[in-house]
């Protein structure tokens, strides 16, 4: 008998070797063939063992991957020996010995257990991994009825307990994803354990088996097959049961799969993993939704008694996030009134609103946008550009939203050059991510640095584009400059900004290369950098971009050592550059209309305003119905709290300030009149009537409208969701003599309704006078400059200016 067992083992081993090395089979047929071969061997083994031990009432089951009939060359054999309760004669342990030892003798990895059906169910109830394995249980030998009985019991248990067990499974997946990272972006990914890997694919099957929710299936099976194929090749190339696709193995694995090169291999793996990861996200959200609605139902039934119909479910609460976008059940979805086919900015607006609120964009919304949205005109209208910047400025929560757009092809549609960097691996020991993910990651890092620069929009866009030249022949910075120029113009930046973006992309490695490799004491080094960078505002952008890029690259790319060298270089270059005076905003001549308004205001002593609706470039074909924004000219005789009150009224009318200019002049010699020109847009589409606005302004200035109380009331009635945590506000005194006549306070903060009102209040409480101001909102970042003077009408002394800046900053926190 022993001889026969050995002989069987030898012939199995030989057949196995033939299959894996000689035969032309690969992929699913080979995995199935290997499983069949193994089935046959184990069945013979079990039959012989049963005969020899006289054991009865047992069954041998394959579970896990082997249960699915998919064996990779170095896969474990996951086996369960099932037996009737009670083993007085020890025949079951003898049977087990006769099964397991031959497997070990062949040097195969074995994962085994010996249990009664009741024990198997209990273990499954305690351990999710066992449960998942048993869901794929398959009969190999022995009593087939026992196997069938366990299978249906385990499935029934799973379905019954799904509401309790799925959340635990989800938690397990989340933990694993955090530990292992994301398969689709890592340069040396673990094909099994990483997010989007084989274990996630198996988990999706388990969720489907619970009948609670199902995954979007398209492409899923192909994706899984692709990963399994790559793993087979990896096992054969390394001769080990490893799942990590290490850099040194990638070329051979690609060759074994008949692919052109390692890049092609990784791209395929990334595409597959993205499919699985995305399906997982959608599935888990669906599971959450189903479980939440189930949790809500019994209570209502209790209230309404035992009537058969519990009444129609109340519509889920919908909280507006932006024009055409609402929050519903923890996702951003399209509003009922949204018109994806007529609103080309909607995809970006929805994505920006979702990211800023820290919510995922619903699968249904992304699909509808992908199917219906029309291409944006080129160059993009200003709103589209601002929404892109807002999306990029949301920090961590940008990533899932970007992934959702990406999964449905919307990113490539918006920025065709993205295709070249999509899923692109980089063979570089310092880098951790694929090129596309590195770019998004750089934007995430840049979002934390926006308070350091005057132009957060340029910083975020440069971060997204800095490596866009990778994948083209030659130096990626040079290739990137050309593409960045093109993309920047396409998304609607003006010529000066396009030049700046091109420069940032072209020279994104200049500072770090110079700081670590050149002599910073050499004036020539500093001069060369200063000549390339040209001005301080570009320097601060380049410095922030350098840091964001390094932080996004990997742990080796950024250290205090590097940071200190970079800070040294930037400090020296800044010293060599002209401080680049801010433009004096107060002195431009008023237009005829402004003058007319100012004169009227001076005569009447009250506010006078003019409203001009303006539209962006009309989308070709049908004209847009709605005006996109309003230009509001307001003339008021100068008085305290002017900025705070005017801004407060606009906030009450749900108008968002995109840009504003404040200046004062004296039209008829009867005291100064403040001229405010605003560019505002409505938070939710509809613009207010001029008459109501004028009336409220008049009441605000004569003190009969309590703006704070009204704003607080509204805040209480419609609490805003908390959304993301933006970097804290920063108020600084502009260095040097940027203005001879006033102190310039620079305020940088996350844009929020009523922000300008609060800044105005804070300034007024320090009893400085705002002589003029330039307000701009770049994506979600407010970048404002206030030219203030003291009571004597002169610029503030340095210490006082610093104190005012500190107070305003404290008031905004």
């Amino acid at each position: 008998m022993t001889e026969s067992v050995e002989a069987q083992g030898h012939s199995y081993a030989a057949a196995r070797l033939r299959l894996l090395t000689e035969e032309a089979q690969s992929g699913p047929p080979r995995r199935a063939a290997l499983a069949r071969l193994t089935d046959q061997w184990l069945a013979d083994l079990a039959a012989d063992a049963a005969r020899a031990t006289g054991a009865g009432g047992w069954a041998l089951l394959a579970v896990g991957g082997y249960g699915r009939g998919e064996l990779s060359p170095r896969s474990d054999l996951d086996l369960v020996l099932l037996h009737e309760p009670g083993d007085a004669k020890g025949s079951v342990s003898a049977l087990a010995d006769r099964l397991w030892y031959p497997v070990w003798d062949l040097g195969l990895a074995l994962d085994h257990s010996v249990r009664t059906p009741a024990e198997a169910r209990k273990t499954a109830a305690d351990d999710l991994k066992v449960q998942l394995g048993l869901l794929d249980a398959r009969h190999l030998a022995g009593d087939a009825a026992m196997t069938a009985g366990l299978r249906s019991a385990v499935l029934a248990d799973w379905r019954n307990q799904a509401p309790q067990r799925l959340p635990a499974l989800h938690e397990l997946c989340t933990e694993r994803a955090e530990r292992q990272g994301e398969l689709s972006y890592l340069l040396e990914p673990d094909l099994k354990e990483a997010r989007g890997g084989l274990r996630d694919a198996t988990t999706l099957r388990a969720v489907a088996a619970s009948w609670l929710a199902d995954a979007p299936r398209e492409g899923l099976e192909e994706a899984r097959t692709r990963l399994l194929d790559a793993r087979d090749a990896l096992h054969l190339v390394t001769g080990r049961a490893t799942d990590r696709l290490a850099l040194q193995e990638q070329d051979q694995v690609a060759a074994a799969l008949g692919l052109l090169d390692a890049d092609t291999l990784l791209r395929q793996v990334y595409e597959a993993a993205r499919r699985i990861a995305y399906a997982s996200d959608v599935t888990w959200r669906e599971v959450d939704r189903v479980l939440r609605s189930r949790a809500a139902r019994p209570r209502r039934r209790g209230l309404l008694g035992r009537g058969r119909t519990a009444g129609a479910a109340p519509p889920p609460e919908r909280v507006p996030l932006a024009e055409g976008v609402v929050e519903q059940e923890g996702e951003a979805v399209l509003a009922l009134a949204a018109k994806p086919d007529r609103d080309p900015v909607l995809p970006l607006r929805a994505a920006a609103a979702a990211a800023q609120a820290g919510l995922p964009l619903s699968l249904h919304a992304v699909r509808r946008l992908a199917a219906a949205a029309r291409p944006l005109p080129v160059p993009w209208p200003a709103e589209a550009r601002e929404q892109l910047v807002t999306l990029l400025g949301a920090g961590e929560s940008t990533v899932p939203v970007w992934e959702a757009l990406e999964a449905e092809g919307l990113v490539t549609r918006l920025i065709p050059d993205w295709e070249r960097v999509r899923c692109r691996p980089q063979r570089n020991a310092v880098h951790r991510f694929t090129v596309d993910r590195h770019l998004v990651e750089a934007a995430v890092q840049a979002a934390g640095l926006t308070r350091r620069v005057h132009r957060p929009d340029l910083l975020l866009t440069a971060a997204l584009l800095h490596d866009i030249g990778k994948g083209w022949p030659g130096d990626h910075s040079e290739a990137g400059e050309v593409i960045a120029r093109d993309v920047a113009a396409r998304i609607g930046f003006g010529p000066a900004d396009v030049d700046t973006l091109a420069l940032l992309v072209r020279h994104h490695l200049l500072l770090i290369d110079t700081a670590t490799r050149r002599d910073l004491d050499d004036p020539e080094t500093i001069r060369t950098v200063a000549e390339t960078v040209r001005d301080t505002s570009t320097l601060e952008l380049l410095a922030a971009l350098t840091e964001a890029d390094a932080l996004a690259t990997g742990p080796a790319a950024w250290s205090t050592w590097r940071a200190s060298l970079l800070a040294d270089l930037v400090g020296r270059v800044a010293g060599a550059l002209d401080t680049g005076a801010l433009p004096e905003s107060a002195d431009s001549e008023p237009t005829a209309e402004e003058e007319r308004l100012a004169i009227e205001a001076a005569r009447t002593g009250g506010p006078v305003l003019a409203l001009h609706a303006y539209t962006e470039e009309e989308a070709e074909g049908e004209a847009r119905q709605q005006a996109l924004g309003v230009e509001l000219l307001l003339a008021v005789p100068d008085r305290p709290h002017l900025v705070a009150r005017a801004a407060g009224v606009l906030a009450l009318h749900r108008l968002t300030v995109r840009a504003a200019d404040l200046r004062a002049f004296d039209p008829i010699g009867e005291g100064p009149v403040a001229l405010l020109s605003w560019r505002v847009s409505a938070e939710y589409g509809a613009l207010p009537e001029a008459a109501r606005l004028r009336a409220d302004l008049a009441r605000a200035f004569d003190g009969s409208l309590d703006i704070e109380a009204r704003l607080a009331e509204r805040e209480a009635a419609y609490p805003r969701r908390r959304g993301i945590t933006p970097p804290p506000p920063r108020v600084t005194v502009a260095p040097g003599h940027t203005s001879q006549t006033a102190t310039v306070l620079e305020v940088r903060a996350h844009d929020a309704p009523g922000l300008l009102h609060r800044i105005g209040l804070a300034l007024a409480s320090t009893s400085v006078t705002v002589r003029s101001a330039r307000i701009s909102t770049l994506g979600s970042n407010a970048v404002d400059a206030f030219y203030v003077v003291g009571k004597d009408g002169n610029p503030l002394p340095d210490a006082r200016a610093a104190e005012v800046a500190r107070q305003v900053e404290a008031a905004l926190r």
């Binding site: 490799r517 002599d519 004491d521 205090t560 050592w561 590097r562 200190s564 800070a567 040294d568 800044a574």
Partner: protein, 112 residues
């Protein structure tokens, strides 16, 4: 055998590497380091505020050589690292008992 260690200004790395290659050294180890010597760091003025930089960024280069080459190699490194200004760094050597090339198991000078 000797272990030559040089702690020098970061921007001299390229020159030192070239000089060592020309000398026939095949391998070296570079680490990012910071520290100070006799000058105890220095003060700097940045955006109007004076602050003390007490730990200056340096790189640390380590090379294993045969005894006979050590003195000459130190000269090569010193020459390549020198700018003549404060903070050029230091070079020193230590005796080494054993060296093994991990891949082949070669020992002593053969492992260099």
């Amino acid at each position: 055998m000797k272990l030559i260690t040089a702690v020098v200004k970061p921007h001299r790395l390229d020159e030192i590497k070239e000089a060592l290659q020309a000398f026939g050294v095949h391998g070296l180890t570079v680490t990012e380091a910071s520290g100070y010597g006799r000058q105890r760091g220095h003060t700097e003025v940045y955006r109007g505020a004076e602050y003390t930089v007490d730990l200056v960024p340096k790189i640390r280069i380590e090379v294993l050589v045969e005894d006979a080459d050590a003195d000459q190699l130190i000269e090569v490194v010193v020459k390549a690292a020198r700018t003549g200004k404060i903070g050029d760094g230091k070079v020193w050597s230590l005796p080494v008992d054993t060296a093994v090339r991990v891949r082949t198991g070669e020992r002593g000078p053969d492992a260099l």
